[in-house]
């Protein structure tokens, strides 16, 4: 399949807004996981998260629009603007029918929904904002981005738990490869730091309860792991055909060359312990990229920090990469800012692009005693590596596997 260029990055994360700030913080290996301060979460078993507290400072969205949308749409709008600016694209110069939006999201806009549902039961139907219906649902950000820029091309929202944005990128690439669109804004957004969404995440049973030490709580692949920590944010990239990108003199940040997906189909919550289906998704992605396993020189791990998930991820990698796995740098940088659920995959891909650009693999923090040894984890601090081809693993609840291959042009 055709290789598709990424020419702009927009990131809104607990580790920073905009790719420069984001990269500077990642490089430093600093944790941005803190106690939740947005509301009193002290009675929740896990009440720590990667939060964004200064979005307004970077926002171009009017107060009038803000009252109609949930935080996850706001994050998507800011991310989209940052991505377009980074790509040097003025949307007014584009044919709107040939621009698409592909975004992933897992849980919807609960901050808005919770407040309005409370009002429904307290005040009756007239207490509910008329924007409720269009603010909460997972495709709302796609709609808001579309309205804001007047985008009219084929677009989709993908809901596939934590694999949502990775899948959105995979599908966006397929659509661009068919030459049906000129460019796509692709990625995802998630805003789970709300009273109800946090409750749902807690009932999943996989969140870390290490509230006493937030910075050390998310420790994927470590013997002392206790589950993952949620984070909020968005990542949106500009994707376009390489020829078009070259023609307009764009700075090509990397190309998506392969995509593979599969499902474990064994349980409502858990993944399969054997990692076989994840291995199959990795093989599909590599074949799609026409890449041999030996060519991969960075692997971005899903890293849920749950034994079953971590171990099956490594099993899958061992079955595909064999002995050579110990030579490939592996990392799970989301340990620094939290797992952005439906937006986690695109953040991982953005990190892979920046890793290739800067020749620096950012660390899995808190990985002090690996549960499985003899692997090349980049732990605690960043390490220089020349990276040309990256493999990015995203996995969703119940064993949804989504794998991307991105490479330098």
């Amino acid at each position: 399949m055709e290789k598709i260029a990424i020419t702009g990055i927009g990131v809104v994360s607990p580790s920073g807004i905009g790719k420069r700030q984001f990269w500077a913080n990642l490089k430093s290996g600093r944790s941005f996981i803190k106690e939740i301060t947005r509301f009193d979460a002290s009675l929740y078993p896990s009440h720590i998260a990667g939060q964004i507290d200064d979005l307004e400072k970077y926002s171009h969205i009017s107060e009038r629009l803000l009252k109609k949308i949930d935080a996850f749409s706001h994050m998507a709008l800011v991310s989209s603007e940052l991505a377009l600016q980074d790509a040097g694209i003025d949307i007014k110069n584009e044919d709107p029918s040939l621009v698409g939006i592909f975004l992933g999201n897992a849980i919807g806009g609960w901050l808005y929904a919770e407040t309005e549902l409370r009002d429904l039961y307290l005040e009756g139907r007239e207490g509910v904002s008329p924007y409720m219906a269009s603010a909460w649902f997972p495709a709302a950000p796609q709609g808001q981005v579309s309205i804001y820029y007047g985008i009219k091309g084929f677009s989709k929202t993908i809901v596939s738990d934590r694999a949502s944005s990775s899948m959105a990128l995979g599908y966006a690439r397929k659509v661009l490869a068919k030459n049906k669109l000129n460019m796509i804004l692709a990625g995802g957004m998630e805003a789970p730091v709300t009273p109800y969404a946090l409750l749902c995440c807690n009932t999943y049973g996989a969140l870390s309860n290490n509230n006493a030490n937030p910075a050390a709580a998310y420790r994927p692949f470590d013997q002392g792991r206790s589950g993952f920590v949620i984070g909020e944010g968005a990542g949106i990239v500009v994707m376009e055909n390489i020829e078009r990108a070259k023609k307009r003199g764009a700075n090509i940040l990397g190309i998506i060359s392969g995509y593979g997906t599969s499902c474990d189909g064994v349980d409502r919550i858990n993944c399969a312990s054997d990692g076989k289906e994840l291995a199959r998704a990795i093989k599909i992605a590599l074949a799609d990229a026409k890449a041999n396993p030996e060519e991969i020189d960075y692997i971005s791990l899903d890293g849920l920090a749950v034994e079953l998930w971590d171990d099956s991820e490594i099993k899958a990698l061992k079955s595909v990469f064999g002995d050579n796995l110990k030579n490939i740098p592996l990392s799970c940088p989301k340990s620094m800012f939290g797992n952005l659920l439906g937006a986690s995959g695109v953040l991982d891909m953005i990190i892979a692009l920046l890793t290739m650009e800067h020749g620096l693999v950012t660390p899995t923090i808190n990985l002090e005693k690996p549960a499985l040894n003899n692997l090349n984890y980049v732990a605690r601090e960043s390490k220089e590596y020349k990276v040309n081809k990256s493999l990015i693993i995203s996995r969703g609840r119940g064993g949804i596997n989504s794998v991307l291959v991105v490479e330098k042009l």
């Binding site: 009017s62 107060e63 009038r64 009252k67 109609k68 007239e126 904002s129 008329p130 924007y131 269009s134």
Partner: protein, 78 residues
Amino acid sequence: MDIKVKVKEVLSNLLKVKIEELKDEVSLINSIGVDSTEMVESVIALEKSFAVKLSPKEITKNSTIDDIVNNIQSKLAQ
């Protein structure tokens, strides 16, 4: 409080538009760009403020500040 002043205050708070922009002859739909959902919200807010029942259809049809004030005045007089 003068009905017009109150109407402008309610709509300014609700729509996040400056009071100076809400001139008497300004149409909510054509000049402020109020969409159908904002219109529903505006009608509910005005109903609450003036304790009257308004018709969203009427307000949509005649949506200048003067129109709305006249509409409310006539309802209050009933």
